[in-house]
């Protein structure tokens, strides 16, 4: 839901201040290293309580400070403007050791509680690895999506990873008696993950080929494939037996060699794996389309809301960090057409270099900030 303002103290190179964000699109214009991405990082942090850059909290405070603070408010009805009604507030304070997250003044016990309040989807340079990087990076992306869509997914994933670590330790000790009890637990949580991933795959595959073809004009379909490590259709008992039959070999290697942690996601075309043949621009577009589908899936959510009624579409905050640079003019235009149109209560933050034709991307209510040395100068309201 749209932020109406964001406030930051000792956060990276940003000068302590409050930024007005009451608009559907906010453009951040500036040279490299001025603080554009830092503002996106602060907004993401306000949505999830952590950074999308993977950095540890101790690296975030401005030089000379141990901690940092962030605060923001958003309209709980998902509307912008003065008359929008009730606002939710979030504040995050990190003192160098302990993180205090408060939603409407109440402390949160677990940062996962934030996930469903005001989700954000970030489009950043590192997303390129979803298309061309290790299978682990793709799993990370789809795990992130599933966590945003299915409430129990994060708990199942945490439990699975914990059991996996315990099992690997037991394999190194050849502790057969412990493996006998860890295997059923690994299968139980593994099956829960597989089921949600299959559901997620159906959701993505329903849109991915069409959207990718629309923007790329490639002329041949590119599909998203999900290859689970455990064969589809295998039941609980079959999998426990399978793990038992492979135990000696896994003890030899000292690690669990099958399960959802080895699942693969891939992009395929008629010739086989698409990522092996794709150009840099085509790979870049893969990651952008994934992010668009992620955002639209979060927007549409489940078929009904938490109260059993028909669910109103609520777009997540979109944070687009220099993502248009690597696309040609036609692809940029078609990609931007996929973003939510004005009037739907969606809010998007864009970063641009000064020489980019950012005025062409304005669509609806837009605030433009010039960013220089961590300061935000409100240039104009388009």
């Amino acid at each position: 839901m749209p932020f109406s303002y964001a406030r930051f103290v000792s956060f990276r190179n940003l000068v302590d201040s409050e930024v007005d964000t009451k608009a559907e699109r906010i453009f951040l214009i500036g040279e490299n290293g001025q603080g554009k991405t830092n503002l996106l990082e602060a907004l993401y942090y306000l949505c999830y309580g952590s950074s999308f850059r993977g950095s540890v909290d101790q690296q975030i405070p401005t030089a000379g400070n141990q901690g940092f603070g962030l605060a923001a408010a958003w309209n709980s009805l998902g509307e912008l403007g003065e008359d929008a009604g009730l606002e939710d507030s979030i504040s995050i304070r990190f003192d160098g050791q302990i993180k205090d997250i408060r939603l409407n003044g109440k402390a949160l016990k677990d940062r996962k509680e934030l996930v469903f309040h005001n989700p954000a989807v970030v489009f950043c340079h590192e997303d390129f690895s979803f298309a061309s990087g290790d299978p682990e990076r793709r799993r990370f992306f789809f795990d992130q999506c599933a966590g945003m869509l299915y409430p129990s997914y994060i708990d199942s994933l945490r439990s699975y990873k914990r059991i996996l670590k315990q099992r690997n330790a037991a394999l190194k000790e050849s502790a057969h008696d412990l493996l006998d009890v860890l295997d059923p637990q690994l299968v139980r949580f593994g099956l829960a993950l597989m089921e949600e991933r299959q559901k997620l795959h159906r959701r993505f595959q329903a849109e991915f080929p069409r959207l990718y073809e629309y923007v790329s004009r490639l002329g041949r379909p590119v599909e998203l494939a999900y290859f689970p490590s455990w064969q589809k259709g295998m039941e609980f008992d079959d999998l426990v037996t399978l793990l038992g039959s492979r135990r000696e070999s896994e003890i030899f290697y000292g690690t669990t060699r099958s399960g959802p942690h080895r699942d693969r996601w891939d992009f395929t075309s008629q010739e086989g794996s698409f990522t092996d043949r794709a150009s840099t621009g085509q790979l870049r577009l893969l990651s952008l389309i994934l992010r668009i589908i992620q955002a639209s899936a979060v927007a549409s959510g489940e078929d009904h809301d938490d109260y059993g009624g028909e669910r109103k579409s609520r777009w997540p905050i979109l944070l687009l960090d220099d993502v248009l640079l690597e696309l040609d003019v036609g692809k940029r235009r078609r990609f931007l057409e996929l973003l939510p149109p004005p009037g739907q209560g969606a809010q998007a933050f864009f970063t641009f270099l000064p020489e980019e034709p950012w005025t062409e991307y304005e669509n609806g209510d837009t605030i433009v900030y010039r960013v220089h040395n961590g300061r935000f100068e409100n240039q104009k309201r388009l």
Binding site: Q166, R167, L178
Partner: protein
């Protein structure tokens, strides 16, 4: 002042005590009645000498075996397995349970090098078997004292390690002909559904019971 610094440093090693709380305690002790501070120091000093582990159940006790293990009013057909001695006090406070206890002294965690040999699992199996052999003997102890163990209640926490430990104990007791049960998990008594988190609700649905 070194005396204050030393005491603050020692107090901050206690669970749940930060530097600020330790300082408050220290200044309170400075002003407190000397009789109180001496009694406190003596109790702390003698604590480990006076409190021992019960040789049967592994709980804390001043007299070995403990009052629960020797109590004539305890139901010896049922043993409740817990992780820590503190868990015994928690369950006793409910006044619901009248059986015996067995403290494991931890939970299975291969990651931390805690295997079955580091826990009091072998002694649990021994107790279950011993109960059965007493059933077959004809000594003069009361009926209750020679009762065979019929049920083992696994009261470990519903965490990955707690569940692993419970599953392991169920496995090792399979051949002992004893009923193995697990504490129910789900919505707390007196709690509102609307305040239950999604995981607790999901687990409650999986463990639902016929009325």
């Amino acid at each position: 002042m070194k005396a204050i610094e030393d005491l603050v440093s020692l107090l901050t090693r206690l669970p749940g005590i930060g530097r600020k709380s330790a300082l408050r305690m220290t200044y309170y002790l400075l002003k407190a009645d000397q009789g109180y501070t001496q009694a406190l120091a003596e109790r702390i000093g003698s604590l480990q000498g006076e409190i021992h582990f019960c040789s049967i159940c592994g709980s804390y006790t001043e007299v070995d075996p403990c009052a629960v293990c020797t109590g004539l009013d305890r139901d010896r057909r049922i043993i409740c397995v817990v992780e820590q001695p503190q868990d015994v006090l928690t369950i006793e406070a409910s006044k619901e349970y009248k059986g015996l206890y067995h403290v494991l002294g931890g939970l299975l965690s291969p990651l931390d090098g805690i295997g079955p040999d580091k826990l009091r699992i072998a002694s649990l199996v021994h107790r279950v078997r011993e109960g059965r052999s007493k059933e077959n003997s004809h000594d003069s102890v009361s009926e209750n004292h020679k009762a065979m163990v019929e049920e083992v209640v696994l009261a470990t926490n519903p965490t990955v390690e707690g569940d692993t430990t419970a599953l392991y104990i169920r496995k090792v007791l399979e051949r002992e002909g004893v009923r193995v049960t697990r504490l129910a998990t789900g919505i707390p008594v007196g709690g509102d559904l609307e305040y239950a988190d999604r995981l607790t609700l999901a687990r409650s649905f999986r463990g639902r019971m016929p009325l």
